[in-house]
Symmetry: C2
Subunit: 464 residues, 2 copies
């Protein structure tokens, strides 16, 4: 990839398509000149931009060979007071696709080149405006689709996670210093570092890293949605329930005009929490081979789900039957949360049902078809998520790369700990410590290489 | 519709979807206050906006109940130096759909309301920033998809068309004044206006209006593309030709990364000219009823086309056959341009073909399958368009409403002209003159009403 930071780069920064306005963004040493070449006043006299103050907006025309391409607003950001840290220009034009293309062509012709995906943010990183994990959070923030994923990405972008990692690294450097002292003078009878302090420090570092590594399980759920499996016998009403859950969501979304979203089938946000619903074949014990495949699929879904909704037709199942079903489920459900939902209730059987299933005070009685008590079910789902006590202000790892590096650092430090117990040679310990430091440093980009940057920033959208 | 101009309105101004950035636009007396309510500095202290200069950009946070919604850039435009003429704010946020929704919700909660389609531009009109035909051109500009439609819309938006209409109206008012003088004193033997001058003036006005009305035929083509019918016997290679024409176009479009467009099947732009290709069933004389339907369809296509490509398999048709086919076509083709294209050429039959069809120096020899000479065909299409001598700097009517009003004005003036010849009473003439004045005035919005505004602006996208 060509990441020459002295190239002037250009890209469409807003979403594709025709709209009221579109924004074309430029960054680099010649950003002002490139736009200036075509920027004119209302009466088509050339207008200077480089002598204007930073953070100011200027109305004018973009004119090429006496043809007016558009009336635009040009906003200037002078380095280092810009997103990338370089001179940057945002050209706000009419949102015609034709105009967007013409402007991009003009700027490309005037010496700018098309930005690589993520290249603006990469420049922000290279110029010290953001560290690497903050830069990664920008992409997460743009992709965020729930209150929690948004808050976690925001916290990471604003440096909450980075400062935690940096603190860990400092602690580790302190530890390394103590170790070296200890070992250098181990043959003499001087004790520079209290043995217990040393053990406490490494234990503390390992424990913090472990907590972060563990948080990735939750972090992944936040980013990708909480998997909810809906299981039950055929005709329990699973598809009807799924549809009503998803349809309602769509209606809510379209309540705000101008903000229609690309819904991914089977995903929905309730009270700012993203759920990912997984439909299943009817689950039951069977000897039929074909049905067995369906059941196996259901069991697979259960294993993948953090929450399992067991849905049944309240007219079909007795309390005794249900008990057996639950026993069956419990063999597979592991740590997932089970939600019992009685479907197809009506005014006539309501009180009978509550008596029949009085052993299950948590059971939710709904009619998917008539949209009854669906809200209660939703509140239950959100509440279950809350009981997992995810606090967005806690540091949660949502990035697989970070989790991997933390896990590597943890392994190295456990080795250090063992080595310490076995009085292993200092230079060997130092190797593992250095490895752990590198892994931590790679998260924030204190230690980095070109391949890593490549793999991170190519996942961005163009224009960011 | 609720168009209260003192409401503060808000809308997403950029295209829907997730992207690097999105822009939310507010306009109205409380635009600054609404944003100020949530706008904070980096360390989350409230930041004032209303005391800042117009056309300045400010970095900060949008914070709601201690939750950071986003880091944003807020650009201020103080009325009347804004697009709408009112105080306006553009909030440039990270292009997450979730963030866009949250910000809209916040601003709606703080007293702004969702903008109606076109409401920003309508305010620009109501505040005298644009006249009505200029405002309409904004929508055309956003929808423009070729160099010509873009230039015509741009000229109209910049007031070229309006000033022509206004001049016409002034001429008509001059004429009305002369007529009144003439008629008031008709019983006396005083001649205030030279009879010939009077006739010349109305003839001139009518001729200008006629020219404008006629330009709508071309204007419509500019806006909606030049219809090109491809006709020929079955297996002449029509679909292959169509595909290669369209595919090539798509390839050109995707040359510019980040600017993929929503292609409407069968439309394409060559050298900035929009063509709309219409595929046909094979055309030939036939007695078969089913085939007749296909042929009728082909004839319909020919009637709708400005350019007709007659494609034939160069191995199958002799010069004599072709002559007959052309005769057949000419009965239906009317004023359309005919382009003869010999398909399936190869190196072996090349010189033979040129000899065979030497009577047709304009004939184009291609191989659609092997993409040979397709460029020549394209250049021919563009050249044919040029021979229609459409000059984007000419005033061309592209808007059906304008064409309709002009046509009404023309009819009324023809009646005036006749009345003048027949020495009809002055007050009757005055009625038609007033009608023509109103029709002209409705184009630029000098004469208007709420229904008209409603029907114009509801066709806009939200956010413009």
């Amino acid at each position: 990839m060509n990441y020459q930071p002295n190239d002037t780069i250009v890209a469409l920064a807003t979403a594709h398509g025709s709209a009221a306005i579109a924004v074309i963004r430029l960054s680099g040493p010649h950003a002002f000149e490139v736009v200036e070449k075509y920027f004119c006043s209302k009466n088509q006299n050339k207008k200077k931009l480089s002598n204007k103050a930073t953070h100011t907006a200027h109305f004018g025309l973009i004119v090429h060979q006496d043809v007016i391409i558009d009336e635009v607003l040009v906003t200037l950001y002078k380095g280092p007071a810009s997103y990338t840290g370089q001179d940057s220009v945002e050209v706000s034009c009419h949102g015609s696709i034709f105009i967007q293309q013409q402007l991009l062509k003009l700027f490309l012709g005037a010496g700018a080149r098309m930005a690589q995906p993520g290249e603006f943010t990469m420049r922000a990183f290279l110029n010290g405006k953001l560290d690497l994990s903050q830069a990664e959070a920008v992409a997460d923030l743009i992709a965020s689709n729930s209150a929690i994923s948004h808050q976690v990405a925001m916290q990471q972008m604003r440096g909450g996670f980075s400062s935690k990692i940096k603190l860990l690294r400092e602690n580790l450097i302190d530890f390394a210093a103590l170790i070296e002292l200890e070992l250098d003078f181990s043959e003499e009878d001087v004790e520079f570092a209290n043995r217990k302090d040393l053990k406490d420090l490494i234990a503390k570092i390992i424990s913090v890293i472990q907590k972060l590594v563990n948080s990735f399980e939750v972090g992944n759920v936040i980013k990708n949605g909480i998997p909810v499996g809906i299981v039950g016998k055929p005709n329990a009403g699973k598809s009807t329930l799924l549809n009503i859950l998803l349809e309602e969501d769509r209606a809510i979304v379209s309540d705000i005009p101008g903000t229609t979203r690309d819904t991914i089938e089977d995903e929905m946000t309730i009270d700012g929490v993203l759920f990912r619903f997984i439909d299943t074949a009817g689950i039951r014990t069977t000897t039929d081979v074909i049905e067995q495949i369906g059941v196996n699929k259901a069991l697979e879904v259960i294993r993948k789900s953090a929450i399992v909704i067991y849905l049944f037709d309240s007219h079909e199942i007795s309390s005794g039957d249900l008990k057996m079903e639950i026993e069956l489920l419990k063999d597979h459900i592991g740590n997932s949360q089970l939600v019992l939902v009685a479907n197809k209730i009506d005014s006539e059987n309501d009180s009978d049902l509550k008596a029949e299933f009085s052993d299950y005070p948590e059971m939710i009685f709904i009619s998917a078809k008539h949209n009854q008590n669906i809200d209660i079910l939703k509140q239950k789902l959100v509440a279950l998520f809350d009981t997992r006590t995810i606090d967005a202000t806690d540091t949660i790892v949502t990035n697989a790369r970070h989790a991997h590096s933390l896990s590597n650092a943890e392994k190295a430090l456990v080795k250090v700990n063992e080595g310490l117990a076995n009085n292993i040679a200092g230079d060997l310990l130092a190797l593992d410590i250095r490895y752990a430091l590198e892994e931590l440093g790679s998260i924030t980009g204190q230690v980095t290489n070109e391949d890593l940057l490549d793999s991170i920033f190519t996942r961005f959208c163009i224009g960011k």
